[in-house]
């Protein structure tokens, strides 16, 4: 099976040498193509930091990181930005939709960033809106949507460009049980349709049980590596 993501002895520390706080210690794991991997752990265990490193939002202090076999830990900020734009989709804890953009624009935005032709964007967004049952909401602004609808838009935005890796941080945190389950179901369907690998940080048992595999983080240490 193809390895989508591979972390080798990743550490992350904040602050100067004499006052350093290490939040991740020697983290090593791999994520296969199409795999659904949960990272669980209590608040403050380093889940979000690890996700930020995996999503190329943050740097590791030490260690190597490979995405699709390519070393990405040493990329400069411009290259990291390009890599995020092309290959990584994000699902945020609180949806993080752009308030001034309509549902359509929010979903279409990643495609626009990748210079996809307008016709193709229109087609892809329409298809995904239908798949998510949001076609009647396409011209609405985020504040006009319910929590569940916002989360679905957030998922659609992460998947529209068919990324190879989707990084999701507490995707069920702002949802009730019914909407959380529906959201997970949707991610799983899209995972099967598009073959994206999912890396999901959560301490929600519903989410963790939904995943193929789980890793546990405790005080910055990987407790149960696969």
């Amino acid at each position: 099976m193809t390895t989508r993501l591979s972390l080798n002895a990743i550490s992350k520390a904040y602050g100067k040498a004499d006052n350093q706080m290490v939040v991740l210690h020697d983290i090593s794991f791999s994520l296969n193509a199409g795999e659904f991997l949960a990272i669980e752990g209590p608040s403050g265990s380093g889940k979000s930091t690890l996700l930020n490193i995996c999503g190329l939002i943050d740097h590791a202090t030490h260690g190597d990181y490979y995405l699709n076999g390519a070393a990405v830990s040493q990329l400069n900020s411009s290259e990291r930005c390009a890599c995020r734009r092309r290959e990584i989709g994000f699902i945020f804890q609180r949806h993080q939709l752009i308030p001034a953009m309509t549902v359509y624009d929010n979903i279409a935005y990643p495609l626009q960033l990748n210079n996809v032709k307008a016709k193709q964007i229109k087609h892809d967004v329409a298809q995904l809106l239908t798949a998510m049952g949001l076609e009647h909401r396409c011209n609405h602004l985020p504040y006009q949507l319910s929590g569940g609808e916002r989360q679905r838009v957030g998922i659609a935005r992460a998947l529209i460009k068919r990324p190879q890796l989707v990084v999701a941080d507490e995707p069920s945190a702002s949802l009730d049980h019914r909407h959380a389950q529906a959201g997970l179901q949707l991610m799983r369907e899209l995972n099967q349709t598009y073959g994206a690998s999912f890396l999901i940080a959560s301490h929600d048992p519903l989410v963790i049980n939904h995943c193929d595999r789980k890793l546990t983080l405790l005080d910055g240490y990987l407790v149960d590596p696969a």
């Binding site: 939002i57 411009s78 390009a82 990643p110 990748n114």
Partner: protein, 371 residues
Amino acid sequence: MNWPLIALRNILRDGTRVISTLLIIATGLTALLVGSGFMLSTYDSLQEITMRTEGHLIVIDDTPEPLLGGSHQQLSLSNWQTIRESLWDDDRVLRVLPRARFEGVVSKGNRSAVFFGSGVDPKEEFRVHGPFLRTTGVLDPWLTSSQRAEVMLGAQLARTLDATSGDLLTLRTVRSNGESAEAVVRLAGLYQNGTPAIDNHTLMVALSTSSALMGSDNVSQLSIYLDKKEESAALQRSLQETIDGVIVQSWQQRATLYHKVKSLYDRIFGVMAIIILTVVFLAITNIISLAIYQRRSEIATLSALGTRPPQIYANFILEALIISIAAAMLGMLLAYAISHAINLAEIMMPAPRVRPRDTPFLSTSHGLTIW
């Protein structure tokens, strides 16, 4: 993606702060426009005064130094009638007026005062000054009476002499050859040019009177009035090339007061403009900085999605641009309304020393000139 619409939505999210910023910028711009309108209106008035007083072009003899006394006394332009006739056929020229400058002492009874006099063409002289030279107590006909030589006095000079229309005055002067000369003239009326210091020392007589008094048919200068002031540079060049022994000056070369006032106002309004523009800049910077601060998580999201930093900045710049354009339009509208209101209410600028009477505070069109 309709970025202007998205920028507009972002602006409207922060309505109250945007409105206050908009008002700050619009007020600053209004102040700048109304101030500029006043400044340009003042420049226009001073230009007009200079052009009406001196003419668009001035022909003087090229003798380097005055013959006697100050330059005021110089009567060295001898061929002025030939020059005048040669200009009559030029369509660009409206009027050519000779002026003979002389000086001396004017007396009425036991009261005397030093004067600076001008021998003029009475029919045309007061016409070209228009509203910038106000006459009072004028006898009819004046300066052109064949019975007796007449004089028009500056209002302040008449007050000094306690003279009123119809009084007889004595003009005493020294001719260029050193002889003293005098003439008894009847006071035909008074004039005010708005500068008491000038009104206190000047008088005007008909050219024939000054010629008889000074014993010379020469004049000090020929003032040329044009149909369009824009043609003065071209005509100045051509006259300078075709007429020998003269210097042709433009009104700008004689406009000492205009240049001084312009220089002063330019500096004052320049400083004002810098202050206002700084306030405007700070207001825009402030609202954009706050927007950036308030939308940190949105910026982080855009960045996570792979938006390049310049694209993120561009969104905020677009918002600043929209606010600026809206404020500019509001400011222009306010300036236009205020200048119209000032003109409709007939609010007048108090007459400064250079003006004969109160003049409009500004003209509406000048309020928008810089745009």
